[in-house]
Symmetry: C2
Subunit: 254 residues, 2 copies
């Protein structure tokens, strides 16, 4: 597809953007879920040339990798790297029901605020590892900005989604890199949806032309990739659409 | 080998230790080089059950992976995980002569203090990525301590070897993990050789029974694995042995 055809497609989808390929580069972490899709649309609307970065870490819900590819394509990422980093029990890591033995709970773990326990879907070090790889990738690309769709409002209580973690990480990243130490680049970890409710994220995404039918949230999809409707990720998603007064276009088992 | 045979072997090698397998677990990053070998010996001497972690990141000096295996075995690590994480140009990363095109400089880049430029052997985000994976691994093992053999005295000027980076990372790690947030574990990034000269590291290692003939430092070895004697890593190593008044047992091209 030509540059102008891509621009027209993006315009048709409602993405307001100054540049498609010629803006400053930004790395956008893209899981295939809603929050990272809206984050990517925001990066595009701000005029960044988006380099999407997805991790194939051995997640049991591998259907999200296909979703990530659809999202990156639809939102006009200039490049999409799917990076393999094996965090499964078989690969010596594990420690989560998403990457090792155990069942994804089909009950309410999600929460607002800082109460309740961190659920077994927590993957040790996940965002720390993903952001670290994003920092390296950004330094190689010459990108100062790294976007990540973490959310600390309607979320599962994962510690590595909270603003205090992000701030500490950003400070560390600036001390870690050659570009940072030499003063050529000040890495910024951009978290535009961190303080939004899921309903606000959905509305923002719709305003920017995000097609939520392309996204995947469920931790425990069936063989056909349909969402279970019961896990934490599904419950948070469904609650968001309900609150936004909009039908969720995702396919559910029932 | 039995526990007692291992203990005897370690004693024969001069490693003073309280426990071999029964001490608290620690993750020790093991590159196959001198500094990480001495760091591992220190962890052993402090009574930790060492879980060695080595990264196969696509380094051109792959002979260091064999050295890492020798070192971990000789120093009695209870486990040694060699983790693959492709940081090469072919894998979408690169940005270093160690993982992409370009030549390893055969001239003096090493320095004492904070002068001079960071050399092209710098690998973007390397210690940030390695430590992040170590944090995840340690959380899964239930290990509070992570040992890394960074050095900020006789070093190549890499930003991710400096104490300010390590301190910032440690703080970030404590905010990133479930174990940290729940108050069950306080991750510590242990850097016992960070302020030693290479000569001091060598003397410490000899006192702890480290066999330096097992280690590999060179960035640009020949096909037989012999060190070039000219790159930064070789120059720093040779300077250290010279200052310590000891012969370097490594094999050099000339």
């Amino acid at each position: 597809m030509s540059h102008s055809a891509q621009t027209n497609l993006a315009r048709a989808k409602g993405v307001r953007m100054a540049h498609v390929r010629n803006g400053p580069p930004a790395v956008v972490l893209c899981s295939g879920g809603m929050d990272s899709a809206v984050t990517m649309a925001i990066a595009r609307a701000e005029g960044y040339a988006v380099h999407a970065l997805t991790f194939d870490y051995g997640q049991r819900h591998r259907v999200e990798l296909r979703a990530a590819r659809r999202v990156a394509r639809a939102l006009g990422a200039v490049k999409h790297l799917v990076k393999k980093i094996d965090l499964t029990a078989a690969g010596g890591f594990g420690g989560s029901v998403l990457t090792g033995p155990g069942r994804v709970p089909h009950r309410r773990h999600s929460r607002t605020g800082a109460s309740a326990a961190i659920p077994p879907t927590y993957v040790p070090g996940r965002n720390l590892i993903f952001l670290s790889l994003a920092v390296a990738y950004a330094e190689i690309l010459g990108a100062a900005d790294i976007f990540i769709g973490v959310n600390a409002i309607d979320y599962s209580g994962y510690p590595d989604c909270r603003p205090e973690f992000i701030r500490a990480f950003e400070r560390t990243a600036r001390l870690a890199t050659k570009a940072g130490v030499e003063g050529r680049m000040k890495t910024r970890i951009r978290t535009p949806v961190i303080r939004m409710t899921k309903a606000q994220i959905i509305r923002k995404g719709l305003a920017l032309g995000v097609d939520f039918s392309l996204t995947h949230s469920c931790y425990d999809p069936d063989a056909r990739g349909r969402a279970c409707g019961q896990c934490d990720a599904c419950r948070l998603r469904l609650k968001g659409f309900r609150e936004a007064g909009i039908n969720d276009p995702a396919q559910y088992v029932k």
